[in-house]
């Protein structure tokens, strides 16, 4: 039997009473690089919060690495969405990575020799030692992602959750972040869930895709999930999946202007539609 990273059994998630996922049953195999995709508001962050044990299922159950989720599990590494104005942005990157070492324990923030070694090892794993000396405010979006990935690797996690790490990055830096996340996942042999609202930057790298939309979800290889019938079901509207030039375009059907639009816009259009109906 293939070991599973995440199992959902009839899972319903309803943060604040709003149903985001309804009666979803699926399994994400371990050791894969998985893109978590779907329009804004489809429940990517909600699903991550449930996996972290921060949100209780409204119905159904879930297993994460074979266990019911609970906050504080060292087996899950997490990189939250970037804040626009983080506190202490004038502090060096080191402080942010080191702050996560045994961060939930009471007492003075003394790192100790082993803590320091763990921080250095995590920084070296993502080649971010030089970044740790610079103030957070002086880092670019891609550099910041690299640094915070080190923080997520501190406790030798078996599952890595990256929440929209490509937000606000230009295509070149986005490609760097994708390559780094995939490389780290492979080297450590761990499962990576990488959420994004656009498929194309991830296309060559993904082993599997977990697509969310309208309370439902589908998981599997890109070629099986990102198809006209599956996405039409998830968007709740007829969409057409078109492959061209090594890229995938999701077109919302019927719009005569659709063909004239650029790929980025095209996918955004489909998403807006899905979002409005979700």
């Amino acid at each position: 039997m293939i070991p599973l990273a995440v199992e959902l059994h009839g899972l319903t998630l309803a943060p604040g009473g709003r149903v985001v996922l309804r009666d979803v049953t699926l399994a994400v195999p371990a050791g894969r690089f998985v893109g978590v995709l779907g329009p804004n508001g489809a429940g990517k962050t909600t699903l991550f919060r449930a996996i972290l044990g921060l949100l209780r299922p409204a119905a159904g159950r879930m297993l994460v690495l074979g266990q019911p989720p609970a906050p504080g599990a060292a087996s899950i590494g997490y990189v939250p969405q970037v804040r626009t104005q983080p506190a202490g942005a004038g502090l060096r990157g080191w402080e942010f990575v080191a702050g996560a070492v045994r961060g939930a324990r009471w007492g003075l923030p003394r790192l100790g020799g082993d803590g320091r070694a763990a921080v250095l090892a995590a920084l070296d794993r993502v080649d971010a030692r030089a970044l740790a000396d610079r103030p957070l405010a002086a880092l670019s979006g891609g550099e910041r992602q690299r640094l915070l990935l080190a923080q997520a690797l501190l406790d030798q996690p078996r599952l890595l959750l990256l929440d929209e790490p490509l937000a606000g990055l230009d295509p070149r830096h986005a490609a760097d972040v994708v390559a780094l996340a995939r490389q780290v996942g492979q080297e450590l042999g761990i499962t990576v869930l990488f959420s994004a609202h656009e498929l194309n930057p991830l296309l060559g790298a993904l082993d599997e895709v977990l697509y969310l939309g309208r309370g439902a979800a589908a998981v599997g290889p890109v070629d099986e999930v990102v198809t006209t019938p599956v996405l039409s079901r998830l968007y709740g509207a007829p969409v057409e999946v078109v492959r061209a030039g090594g890229r995938v375009f999701v077109m919302s059907g019927g719009s005569p202007a659709a063909g004239a639009c650029g790929p980025r816009h095209e996918q955004g259009h489909g998403h807006e539609r899905g979002h409005a109906r979700a």
Partner: protein, 284 residues
Amino acid sequence: MPVLDYDFMQNAFAAGTIVAVVAGLVGYVLVLRGQAFAGHALGHLGFSGATGAALVGLPPLPGLVAMTVLGGIGMGLLGERAGERDVAIGVVLSASLGLGLLFLHFYTGQAASAASLLFGNLLAVDAGAVWGLLALGVAALAALAALLRPLLFATLQPELAEARGVPMRAVSVLFLAVAALAVALCAQAVGVLLVFTLLVAPAATAQRLAGAVLPGMALSAALAVAAAWGGLALSYWTDWPPSVGITALSTATYAIAALAPSLSRFKLRNALRLTEGQGRSATK
């Protein structure tokens, strides 16, 4: 040193040092968390506490401490919704000041006691009060030390700290209680209206100068102590109230730290332009 020949001067230096160390350390985290305004408001809450205590014949310090700590805990429980929070805090702040004024009206004591509550008077601190400040200061710092690691984690990376199992609400409430103690101490030294001068200005200066938390906290405490000593020395030679010198010094330090980096950046930018052969624009 002639300054220390008098008992009241020794008491003032001891009290000023205790208050400044606590304010510098606690204030650093307060500023890092973006809760400076909450600190300011806690001082005003303390005013009604102190005047209320005086009205019923108690010394002002217990009333001050009780009111600020209760206020701090209340603010922590109120939660973190920024926008409305500032308004709510501001409304409670002015209500509290008004209440304090009413207490003063009934307490037909001297106007001097009101002035010393509002603006502080380190020179009036007696030896007994120094011991009281020391006990409160040690309590505040012990609580801060016990709290510091999860507090910094929750401040710098809140989403992650929550996922790692930091009890966010408890940390926030406990810290505001510690901050309230620091505010009560500051109010004893520089008055409820000037708590910013020891609690916020040195901390903000240190955050501009230091790139790491613990050195930053040490620098913040050192700057606060320097301002307190400088203010007292100035008061000795000029006969002005010590709070005047303390505010002047901590403001001046902050202004220098705030302006210096942008000045040097400006120079650097011009130097770069010159090396790129665009010397003309550098003359602007």
